[in-house]
């Protein structure tokens, strides 16, 4: 309670500061409290000596960070180190020093909303969640000093958007972990922007699109009015769920249509030269942008009504009977059950639409996220090439490509693959025709097996090559939370802040995607031989069934 009194005192004092004053901020961290000298002094008094002089007067104990349970009771460093708990990190943007206490009030509201929202994940699992609030001071939104560069901007797609630097957030999380809270390991980060507009749509970047261990959600203070925004956006950022609803105008359109852009995709240096070279020449591998977007580690939406393509020894094949999701009305599927990631706007029904609840498929993943073993094998597999029957392999090595919808599953990512390659080998022996011996043969089946460990495999899509598809690509990427594109010079391209069509081609970015594909080199050396191959995936708990056999033919 003293902390809050101190905050209130500071707030009151700051409220009396004169217009000629400037803020001076420095922090000395002591446990989870900081000695704050954030105050205002007359510009004429800014000297080292005067700072030292005023220290005793202005040193006030203010929390830089707090750890709270669902009921707002304090949690400890021991709790943070306990692997049975999951953590949510809550940080501000656009809150000035004077608004620090408002941030902590918002933190409490956020926790309460998360913990009392029907039967959603953060309510059912509230005993297993720790909320870490970390105050980051800075200027107001839209000013150069706003924490994480937070701002509210007119959006090329929506009316207004919350914007901030995801990279700055990631750097801050790393810095906190390296200093104040070594045991910080958030499953999701929620940044709240100090703004009360109600025509701004909150959004989040799921971890699979950010490529890290957590995603980042953005909301403003207006979003604290209910539990929906926080639980939904952290459904993206912490659980890697994607939306199951459909955008107006896209009810009849199919996500597969965006595969029109697949021929523009380039394999980058994360692939072997073989894949890059031979695919450019012959297009013998089967990869699709629709899969990269909607079948790339996310669990609750799939591009097939029965996502399982192979046998799972611990579960029946999953059924996703409802079509729609990831904006498109067709070509994506989700499981039955009204839930937090859906909406009543399109095709509502007893088992389809919004509720403060989750589908059975979502619960499978939520339980795994909170420590249960995976409920299924990583069974969304496909041999992706060379195209079955491919005739043109040259040289003494071939590279096969595997599609694995769970390669980047956030909670049971594939740990390894078993790849089998088989061939018929001719074995000669002496046979008899009456009294005459002759050399005869039989073909014997040989199978070799190898463990392959997944590595990051990326593709690139250059905005300059998109021509008229630029706005479509921008829409899709902004919609899934990809708001920043790293630039070669180390900076970032803010994708969602202006229409691509207004940007000179020289400044257009190259989009890089981490893919659900993996490769394996096969030392197939025999001429005029058909080789067969298949694979299975291991998720650390269960090995899937094998894919069907595919073949390639080694000519010369």
């Amino acid at each position: 309670m003293k902390k809050f009194l101190a905050s209130a005192l500071l707030f009151g004092l700051l409220g009396q500061a004169s217009a000629q004053s400037v803020p001076i901020n420095s922090t000395i961290t002591l446990s989870n409290y900081s000695v704050i000298t954030s105050t205002t002094v007359n510009t004429s008094a800014i000297t080292t000596a005067s700072l030292i002089t005023v220290y005793p007067w202005w040193i006030l104990w203010q929390p830089t960070w707090k750890c709270r349970r669902w009921d707002l009771t304090a949690c400890t460093s021991t709790d943070l180190a306990n692997p049975n708990y999951r953590q949510i990190l809550f940080m501000p943007s656009g809150y000035t020093e004077e608004e620090r206490s408002a941030f902590w009030t918002d933190f409490d509201t956020f926790i309460t909303n998360m913990s009392n929202a029907g039967s959603v994940w953060s309510t059912v699992k509230r005993d297993r969640l720790l909320y870490v609030g970390y105050y980051v001071t800075g200027g107001a939104l839209g000013t150069p000093t706003a924490a994480f560069g937070g701002a509210v901007m007119a959006h090329p797609i929506r009316d207004y958007a919350l914007t901030l630097s995801l990279e700055a957030v990631k750097q801050k999380v790393a810095a906190i972990k390296g200093s104040d809270i070594p045991n910080l390991k958030p499953m999701g980060v929620q940044v709240i922007l100090n703004n009360f507009q109600d025509n701004i749509t909150a959004n989040a970047a799921p971890p699979s699109f950010l490529g890290g261990s957590y995603g980042i959600a953005k909301m403003n203070r207006d979003d604290l009015r209910s539990g929906y925004i926080a639980t939904h956006e952290l459904g993206h950022a912490a659980l890697n769920f994607v939306d199951e609803y459909v955008e107006t105008g896209l009810e009849n359109l199919n996500i597969r249509s965006i595969d029109v852009a697949t021929p523009l995709v380039l394999f980058d240096g994360s692939w072997s030269g073989f894949v890059r070279g031979i695919n450019d020449l012959f297009g013998i591998y089967d990869y699709n942008i629709s899969e990269i977007l909607a079948g790339n580690g996310n669990h609750n939406v799939a591009i097939s009504s029965v996502p399982s393509t192979v046998y799972s020894p611990i579960s029946a094949a999953q059924q996703y009977p409802y079509e729609g999701g990831m904006f498109f009305g067709k070509g994506t599927f989700h499981a039955a059950g009204k839930n937090l990631m859906n909406s009543d706007r399109t095709n509502p029904g007893p088992q389809n639409g919004f509720a403060y609840a989750h589908s059975g498929a979502q619960w499978m993943l939520i339980n795994t996220a909170f420590g249960d073993a995976p409920y299924r094998a990583n069974d969304r597999l496909r041999a992706a090439g060379p195209t079955d029957g491919w005739w043109g392999e040259l040289g003494d090595q071939t590279v096969v490509m595997m599609y694995d919808g769970d390669k980047r599953n956030h909670f049971h990512a594939t740990q390894s693959y078993q790849v089998q390659v088989g061939w018929w080998e001719r074995v000669w022996f002496t046979s008899w025709w009456g009294p005459f011996p002759y050399p005869d043969y039989r073909d014997e089946w040989r199978t070799a097996q190898k463990t392959v460990w997944p590595t990051e495999r990326r593709i690139e899509l250059r905005a300059t090559s998109l021509y008229g598809l630029g706005n479509l690509a921008q829409s899709v990427l902004c919609g899934v939370g990809v708001t920043e594109i790293p630039k070669p010079d180390g900076g970032v391209f803010k994708l969602c802040e202006q229409p691509l069509s207004t940007i000179a081609s020289a400044f257009l970015p190259t989009f890089t995607f981490r893919t659900p594909y993996e490769e394996s080199t096969v030392p197939a050396s025999q001429w005029w031989t058909t080789y067969w191959w298949r694979f299975a995936a291991y998720n650390g708990h269960t090995t899937s069934g094998w894919t069907g056999w595919s073949s390639f033919y080694r000519s010369l």
């Binding site: 029109v260 699709n288 192979v310 195209t387 079955d388 088989g422 011996p437 005869d440 050396s525």
Partner: protein, 254 residues
């Protein structure tokens, strides 16, 4: 009559040679003893054949050793079954549809299997098998798979809400608007066999291909389309060319 006997004898000899050739697969033993200067013993015959066998087995296991040297391990596994790998529709009647579905859904199909997949799409009892067949046909490079899909779509044999039919229209994308298949795909916009949603998907595909390449359908192709079909393509081109996310789910109404 004499000639007839000669013909019969010649045919019999030819048949014998053919059988012998087939039997030994081009690996016939040495010529009969009568052709040799001296009669080989049975032991010599066996030794000669064994030398041939040994010579031909000279590289036996070499490929396995090559794999092992590359870090692979030789294991026992069942060989592929041709009926599965060739996607034989007869497996449905044989009660093996689930195996067939795994084969279809978990591999990338060759164009030579398009016909079989087209039959499976119509014959399969499980909706997920039909869905997998459509996906497999749609992923085939080239036109063979798309032609099968067009035939199924226009046949009216699958209901619009059938899982096997729902994705077909989305796969009907010509490689470009000058492609041989483009007029046929565009012509589907005037087909009475298609639903409104299917026509929208096809028009959207044509629009996106055009936006990607900076092209439109050739004038003579457009001339064959109804005004409604042309208007649909225009509408989809407009939709594809602008940012589509109105984000109508405002996130505020829950």
């Amino acid at each position: 009559m004499k000639n007839r006997g000669l013909v019969v004898t010649t045919l019999a000899l030819a048949a014998g040679v053919a059988i012998y050739a087939l039997k030994f697969g081009g690996n016939a033993p040495p010529p009969p003893a009568a052709a040799l200067p001296t009669e080989p013993t049975q032991g010599e015959r066996i030794a000669a054949v064994e030398r041939v066998v040994q010579e031909r087995n000279r590289n036996l296991g070499e490929e396995a050793r090559r794999f092992e040297a590359d870090g692979w391990q030789m294991v026992a596994a069942d060989a592929p079954e041709p009926r599965l790998t060739e996607m034989d529709p007869g497996l449905i009647a044989a009660g093996r549809e689930r195996e067939l579905r795994v084969q279809i859904a978990s591999t990338t199909t060759a164009a030579r299997n398009a016909r079989n997949l087209g039959r499976i799409l119509l014959l399969a009892e499980l909706p997920e098998t039909r869905e997998a067949a459509t996906d497999a046909l749609g992923r085939i490079k080239g036109d063979a798979g798309k032609i099968e899909l067009i035939e199924v779509l226009t046949s009216g044999k699958l209901q619009p809400d059938d899982l096997g039919r729902r994705q077909i229209a989305a796969y009907l994308r010509p490689s470009d608007l000058d492609a041989e298949l483009a007029p046929r795909i565009a012509g589907l916009l005037d087909s009475k066999a298609l639903t409104v949603a299917e026509k929208e998907q096809i028009a959207y595909n044509l629009a996106l291909v055009g936006l990607r390449d900076g092209m439109t359908l050739a004038d003579d192709v457009l001339a064959t389309l109804s005004p409604e079909a042309r208007a649909l393509i225009d509408r989809m081109t407009d939709l594809g060319g602008k940012a589509f996310l109105a984000h109508t789910d405002s996130h505020k109404n829950h």
